[in-house]
């Protein structure tokens, strides 16, 4: 069974601070997706990383896929209250077909 450990589970910071969310596994993933979910809504895809060592940037968000494709991180620079939400990582396993394995999520609160 593939597992994705996501940390921290909760994060409360002040506007302007930087933060990093981690997803770690002992399994190799073909790709890893980061989603953001708002209350009452479904997860919305932010980015997909596919290649080991890949770095993708989306405005103030930087996503990195580990060299061995077992871990990933999301770094937010100068967080804003609009960044508040639940961030989820999900991996597409090499041997699990296209079903996604999700982390438990990081609930981020950015205080003004």
């Amino acid at each position: 069974t593939q597992l994705l450990e996501q940390s921290p589970q909760f994060l409360s910071i002040q506007e302007g601070e930087n933060l990093t969310v981690y997803c770690n596994s002992s399994s190799v993933f073909s790709s890893l997706q980061w989603y953001r979910q708002e209350p009452g809504e479904g997860p919305v895809l932010l980015v997909t990383v596919v290649t080991g060592g890949e770095v993708k940037k989306l405005k103030r968000l930087t996503f990195q896929f580990g060299d061995a494709r077992k871990d990933s991180s999301l770094h937010i620079t100068a967080a804003q209250p609009g960044d508040t939400g639940l961030y989820l990582c999900a991996g597409d396993g090499e041997t699990s077909g296209s079903r996604l394995t999700f982390g438990e999520g990081t609930q981020l609160t950015v205080n003004p």
Partner: protein, 113 residues
Amino acid sequence: EAGVTQFPSHSVIEKGQTVTLRCDPISGHDNLYWYRRVMGKEIKFLLHFVKESKQDESGMPNNRFLAERTGGTYSTLKVQPAELEDSGVYFCASSPRLSAPQHFGDGTRLSIL
């Protein structure tokens, strides 16, 4: 382009009753997935359709759950009879091809009393 739509958005039923959830994927998406999130746990895979065929149903918890996708368009997930531990949020997702990014609906919040 319309997104993935799920119906109902909320359902409250008593233990032992039957409930049917519906998912309409994005038009043209052959791949349809069902996931579930129970309280305090991560989102977990239930099953995957390619068109009308079940590609992977390894995540279905037991035989009280029945998923169908007749005609390869919308899908239904029936729980019969419902048990307390079936409470949670049921998400549907679709993608145009295998390993393409999956687009999620807003989920059905199911409460079993």
